[in-house]
């Protein structure tokens, strides 16, 4: 069960992912990112501080946007991840393919640097 909230700060769309993402709920993450891109945001930050669990279905969603966001020059930065969640990304080597920051200020800074 996952709950997703979106709010905007300094021109960035911040997607907060609350709860657990598995094969039954990954579609909600997919829809949220698709909306953010569709609405024309130039920076996307994903707040993972309340993300308790992610399976490959959720990892696959993030991965499937890497090319599109690169083509559209939209940086997406994930932040606030718990160690157990970050470990799931690391097992697959996805931590190197995605942009991940520890805190929101660091995520904003990284997104600004990437969008130059």
């Amino acid at each position: 069960m996952v709950h997703i909230k979106r709010l905007q700060e300094d021109g960035a769309d911040i997607i907060s992912v609350i709860g657990e993402i598995d094969a039954s709920s990954s579609i909600e993450l997919d829809l949220a990112i698709a909306k953010s891109v569709g609405e024309g945001f130039k920076k996307i930050l994903v707040d993972c501080s309340a993300l308790e669990y992610i399976s490959s279905a959720g990892l696959g969603v993030f991965m499937s946007y890497i090319e599109e966001l690169k083509d559209k020059n939209i940086p997406m930065v994930l932040f606030g991840m718990k160690e157990k969640v970050l470990n799931t990304f690391s097992i697959l080597g996805l931590a190197e393919l995605l942009h991940i920051a520890a805190t929101k200020p660091e995520a904003k800074k990284l997104a600004n640097e990437l969008s130059v």
Partner: protein
């Protein structure tokens, strides 16, 4: 110690599977990172079976067995009577290709193989048994 859990092949039951695994291991002093990885591997195997072998039919059942012996070798079995879905025969696509093709699938099997020490398949009472082994030191 032995634990068993029977569930229908609906993706909405994955949360119950994760809770069952976590509860079964809670007194085993498994470090949290390892515990989370084991829970993840079982979720991945069950969701794969539900989707590919049972087409998410909630009337089809999976049996989960957890065997906790004294010497730290944990054995997890998933028993079903669907078509065999052997991840050892599944070709893992290159990560770069998955990104390039914007594909969402293909990661679960990688996770399971990375987390578990062994994945094997056997037949018992005419059913498929997928046995996952993990040694915790």
């Amino acid at each position: 110690m032995n634990y068993q859990y029977n569930i229908g092949c609906s993706l909405s039951n994955l949360k119950g599977i994760r809770e069952f695994v976590r509860n079964s291991l809670k007194d085993q002093r498994v470090p949290e990172i390892e515990m989370s990885a084991i829970v993840l591997a079982l979720d991945e195997m069950c969701s794969n079976l539900m989707i590919h072998a049972h087409h998410c039919n909630p009337d089809h059942m999976l049996e989960l067995h957890i065997d906790i012996p004294a010497h730290g070798k944990f054995i997890f079995e998933i028993v079903d009577d669907g078509s065999l879905f052997d991840i050892n025969e599944f070709h893992e696509p290159d990560l770069g290709n998955l990104v390039h093709q914007k594909r969402k699938g293909g990661l679960g099997i990688r996770l399971v193989k990375a987390i578990m020490d062994n994945v094997e398949y056997l037949k018992r009472d005419d059913k498929n048994v997928c046995r996952l082994t993990k040694v915790i030191k």
